[in-house]
Symmetry: D2
Subunit: 191 residues, 4 copies
Amino acid sequence: MNKPDFHFPKTLEKLKRGGPAVTLPKDAGMVIAYSGIGKDSKVVELGTGTGFMTVQLANIVKEVITYEKRREFAELAKQNIKKAGLNNVVIKEQDVLKGFDDEDVDLVFCDIAEAEKIVENAYSILKKDGCFAAHCLNIEQAKSLFLELKKHFKDVFMTECMTREYEVRDFGTRPQHFGLMHTAYLVFAKK
Amino acid sequence: MNKPDFHFPKTLEKLKRGGPAVTLPKDAGMVIAYSGIGKDSKVVELGTGTGFMTVQLANIVKEVITYEKRREFAELAKQNIKKAGLNNVVIKEQDVLKGFDDEDVDLVFCDIAEAEKIVENAYSILKKDGCFAAHCLNIEQAKSLFLELKKHFKDVFMTECMTREYEVRDFGTRPQHFGLMHTAYLVFAKK
Amino acid sequence: MNKPDFHFPKTLEKLKRGGPAVTLPKDAGMVIAYSGIGKDSKVVELGTGTGFMTVQLANIVKEVITYEKRREFAELAKQNIKKAGLNNVVIKEQDVLKGFDDEDVDLVFCDIAEAEKIVENAYSILKKDGCFAAHCLNIEQAKSLFLELKKHFKDVFMTECMTREYEVRDFGTRPQHFGLMHTAYLVFAKK
Amino acid sequence: MNKPDFHFPKTLEKLKRGGPAVTLPKDAGMVIAYSGIGKDSKVVELGTGTGFMTVQLANIVKEVITYEKRREFAELAKQNIKKAGLNNVVIKEQDVLKGFDDEDVDLVFCDIAEAEKIVENAYSILKKDGCFAAHCLNIEQAKSLFLELKKHFKDVFMTECMTREYEVRDFGTRPQHFGLMHTAYLVFAKK
């Protein structure tokens, strides 16, 4: 059983991966498509990690402001963003549980534990109809976040994106026997 | 068993759906994320349909050139693109099986039957490392396309994106019992 | 979107369904296959409901002892078992949270809320290498049960069985667009 | 990425696996549950392989007649059936494409290539409402079989059983990241 191919686009291939789990293209795609962000959007990211999602977002939108409390990740992310050739990202080395501010934001993307604690703050910086999206590592975190979002946001939903790759040969086609079965629970809401 | 919510972002909500099946956000997200397109990209779309995917692409990239051979769909797409407030789309009322040209394209997105017939033409207009992506309605079409792509492109793969939404309540969390199980087979390749 | 066909075998088609959700053949199949029960086995079922699973088990094994605390379900189950032409079932109208006894049992199948409360009792009536299996309606229940089983049993695992049916036509094959996405979490353990 | 645990019940654990892919418990469970076979049933199996499915069937039903054309597999199957302590199996070393006969059969289970060629023969030996079930290694084989079954049988359907196992820990629950994504397409029909 070999490691599956995550199909990173060219921009991501060059980046360095550190400790934290990255948001894979399949999940980044869900966030981009459901939020409807585009080239005029402003995005705030909570939890930069190594900057994989930051790069995927900044490649599309006008401006990304991203928060990371751990110095070593902020540094790694800075290098990755530079390698990707992007100049529309601001990294703030700051703990978002202690607060963050901004305004008229189109998307708040959140990839931290205890995401339920920043729900009200996220609401306050979004524009009307702006989207909140989160990448949750387990169902307990996703549930806590979902229930808190329900108190403030509309159109709250929790979903999961499962991809399955195929073996295609002239004589026979079938899904691969082994592969990536799960990455994260995704939770969305609209202001 | 109610119709599931496809979670269209705001831009898509206003659009008119005609006959052809649309590319839903979940599949549009895969195409955007795996291709790595961004705000500087040029995209050629083969098979406009009602313009749902056109709008999702044009919202992100610099320029979309889209081909549709049936007058009624081209007209509907024009209205939808206008409703979405986008002015970076060129619709060509033309049968792509008879040929199409362009150059330095970042992504060719294809949503037509017999997609295997345009593989060479698509290759010719893509830039190096440019991406080919297709939305196939059945596995026979996806297979024919895959095998033809293998002759010309690198990194050919076929995948499927399955989403599953959750019921989240304080006393109990589980996936929804009924819902959308399948939309399309997605085939990707790199020049 | 029509109700999906659950593909009940002939024996189940005649049965009457009351209030409680039944264990569908796909999940019954998992329990039968992973437990390895056969024609010489003795099974204890906790939570008869309308007797759908009782009938599926009794059709295969030597003897089923099943517990149901609610009179109306016990009555319905009795009728269903009779309709199915089975005479190897004993129904006990009794609340299993207050205790149950037996010995040398090959499989304890459990379909009640708060299943974690009967784990020790279930352990005591199983033979060595006997199997415990449960059908859980949400992930919170499944988790509580799993963690309690870990304290007493070996080979504890939690799984889910997802089926997807296909449209097969000469000109094109694909999974059905809409259908049954989830029924239950299944938890297994071995004594 | 480790090999996933297939959760073989005790009877299967001791068996020897040779070349051919075995029918795993999850798929055996589908066949048992959808066909409704029980302790009074007679089953004919086409394609014994190493006898994994033979053992799973014979553990449940009254009598299994199984066909295998390759001597080495027939021998291995014989040993496996003996190891499992079963004495209700007849192995016939014979190529089923050249014909087979029996009568009043409750289930014909088929695990051979070109299964579409034995459809009429299978029909002839089944009792009324008897079940045909097949384990197909790719979608092309499954489709050919399905279309041929439609000409003779009722209630034809093609499905797939996907299981997903969970990591359950006090602090967080989620599906396993990597695992078994696909085994076989299953095709069913009723006489």
